[in-house]
């Protein structure tokens, strides 16, 4: 709710800005699968390490049409996040500035819906920095992979909670996991799972 109000306000303030088209209703059929690797799971503390994204058209994951950005190392690159992502400061030494990265992301996704696994987290982190740099939140429609999965699976799943862990979903869908813990790899894996759910036969899935 709060997000909707903010978005409405942003749309008004950006009406004549360079990013006005982001606020228009999307008419196409593409979806962008997006994933961020960050330094913290707490949005207020998180810095972005890398961003990966691919477009999806129909049954096709357009890995030829992708975004694979490493950012300049933030001051707070801690040992803990290194453990999760296996990204070390030296891997990011060649990275680009935050503002450039955000511009590329906006350019790439346009007003397409954004798909991800726990995508709201990624959107909130992006929004935090977008507001800081450009004065608005990411306005795009969000598609949550685990919801898509849950909606299909729940009909076969009587009682109890559906296990929505990333690796569980991947293995239930019998999808290969491509380069876990790289932003682009996760974005592609999520994209494949999404295509599988949207395009494939769900009758052979079990809870």
């Amino acid at each position: 709710m709060l997000r909707a109000i903010r978005r409405f306000k942003d749309k008004r303030t950006q009406k004549h800005g360079a990013w006005a088209h982001l606020f228009e209703k999307y008419e196409g059929k593409e979806v962008v699968s997006l994933d961020l690797e960050t330094t913290s799971l707490d949005v207020s503390k998180a810095s972005i390490l890398s961003i990966g994204a691919v477009r999806i058209t129909g049954n096709r994951v357009k890995t030829s049409d992708r975004l694979d950005i490493a950012l300049k190392p933030p001051a707070d690159l801690t040992a803990e996040s290194i453990k999760i992502h296996k990204i070390r400061a030296q891997d990011l030494a060649e990275g680009i500035e935050l503002r450039d990265a955000l511009e590329q992301v906006l350019e790439f996704i346009g007003n397409r819906p954004v798909l991800g696994y726990y995508v709201n987290y990624d959107i909130r982190v992006l929004s935090k920095f977008l507001r800081q740099e450009f004065g608005f939140d990411l306005p795009n429609t969000a598609i949550e992979l685990s919801h898509v999965y849950h909606d299909i699976i729940k009909w076969k799943h009587v009682g109890g909670d559906v296990d929505l862990r990333f690796d569980t979903i991947a293995s239930k869908l019998d999808m290969p996991i491509i380069q876990r813990h790289t932003a682009l790899g996760d974005a592609i894996t999520v994209a494949l799972m999404y295509v599988r759910l949207k395009h494939g036969d769900s009758s052979n899935l079990s809870g």
């Binding site: 049954n59 096709r60 994951v61 357009k62 890995t63 030829s64 049409d65 019998d174 999808m175 290969p176 491509i178 380069q179 790289t182 682009l184 790899g185 592609i188 994209a191 494949l192 295509v195 599988r196 395009h199 494939g200 036969d201």
Partner: protein, 607 residues
Amino acid sequence: MPDSFKMSNLPFSLLNEREQKLLRSNLDLGYYQKGEAILQAPELSEGVYVVYKGRVAEVDPDAEDGIEHVFMHYENEDYFGGWSAIHGTTIHNFVAEEETICHILPTAALLELMATNADFADYFQQNLSAKSQIAAQQGEGQDMAEFMLATISDATLRDPLIVNEGTSIAEATALMRETKSDCVLARKGSRVGMVTGTDLLDAVVLEGKALETDVAEIAKYRLVTTHPEDYLFNVLVLMTQQQIERVVVMDGTTLIGIVQLTDVLSYFSSHSHVIGLRLERASTVEDLRQAAKGINALIKALISTGVRIRFTMDLLAAMNGRIISKLFDLVVPDDLQPHVCLIVMGSEGRGEQIMKTDQDNAIIFRNALMWPDMEKVMQEFSAKLISFGFPPCPGNIMVSNSYWVNSVDDWTQKLQDWSLSNDGEDQMNLAIAVDAKPVAGNVALFKVARNWFLRNLHNNDIFFSHFARAAIEFDTPLTFFGNIKDKGELDIKKGGIFPIVHGVRTLALEHRILKTNTYERLELLQEMGVLGEQESEDLCEALGLFIHIRLRQQLRRADESGSGIDPTPNIIELGVLNKMDRDLLRDALQVVKGFKKSLTSRYHLSS
């Protein structure tokens, strides 16, 4: 694209770094559910598809009777759609047999890669002989042994004996004796020259030089050199061309050693000349048996040394022929030898038997020959051959069986009868017999019968049509790749070797070609314009591949069996093949399929 695409598989491994980058940046992933058509004729193809997960069947869109005709299965990094991408539209349907994910390389990128990389382009032209050559150049490890020839560094390099300027002929000779060298290298300033034992003799005896003469004066400074990575085979050629026996091996400017002709020869033939010598010298059956027993070891040595399969076949055919004719000489009394002729038939007659799988032989004797002991002697002959390790023929096509011991007249009559019969066994007997080659006794007896038979076979269309039919009888198993897990093996004799051998045999017979070897027949058929150059080359490659893959598995099974005999000589276990072998095998079977099709139309065999 991250690491999901395997660049190490042919033909992608042919690309250089820049090209691989281009490829990666152009790949998409496509998802297809079970039963979904990935490509449908006559759709425009988007590019090349590489299976990441799942299985795809290539099917005939015009299949009648509602039964889908599956040409081929693709899975596990196999690629398809290359032909369609290059030609624009697809003529077959490609259907996901299970849930499938493919990498897709768009046509534009494919064409760009083909334009910059000739090998890659050749590979996509779907031409078997080009493919196996490229695969050969890529050669890796033992698997490629056939194509790789051994290099100099594998063979015995001799340490050179080097002396400085000012060393006398007498001193040099003493040194050579001491180090058991038969040549010496003499330094003169920055140059190095060679002096051989013969040079020393010539200098002293013929030219009357004093023993104090400096060897540097008589040395020859135009050394023939090579580098350590050069093929031994090239060295042999070099020695033959230059008529020399020693080549100096240099790594850049460093002298590494000397290769001698005797070393090269013994390395190549491994024990072959030893066995050959023993065969020639054998004066008793027991000597011969001992020599014959060494042949399996020789085959292994040849294969692991990297001698080409055709050379191996030729050498073994020659050796087996010598064993058989030697035994014949020892068993058949001298005074009777001019009156009988021993022939070998089937794969032995064609010179294509590597592992001894069976013996097919027969006797042709002069009309009205009186030889009461013949049957007994022939029994003995067969029994001895069996004891040498030539397994008995399951069809009993051996001289111990009187059916295969005939006078010239009876033999020609048999050939004639078989050729007029519709009976399957008669047809098979004829097929075996037309590959006959005389190995001992009086060759003229064999020729008389053969020539008579060929004359009378003139333009008999019905015969050829009937004879050819066997070549298309067995199904060529192109769809087996989908079943690797279930079945995992195929009979390569039925599926690949026999159709080629028999088809070529039929063509050769029709065109009165006297050669019995399939390769030689193919070469002649090509010269006569009966087969196209490409078709003939592809058939040669396909046959060589089948025989080579089969041989590797035969050797392994023979080793494992304990008895030294492979219980299933014609089975290829698909599970142990690597990706490249499977690719080549599939292409080779495709060649067989095409050949069967052309036989079908040539001899009106529509089934």
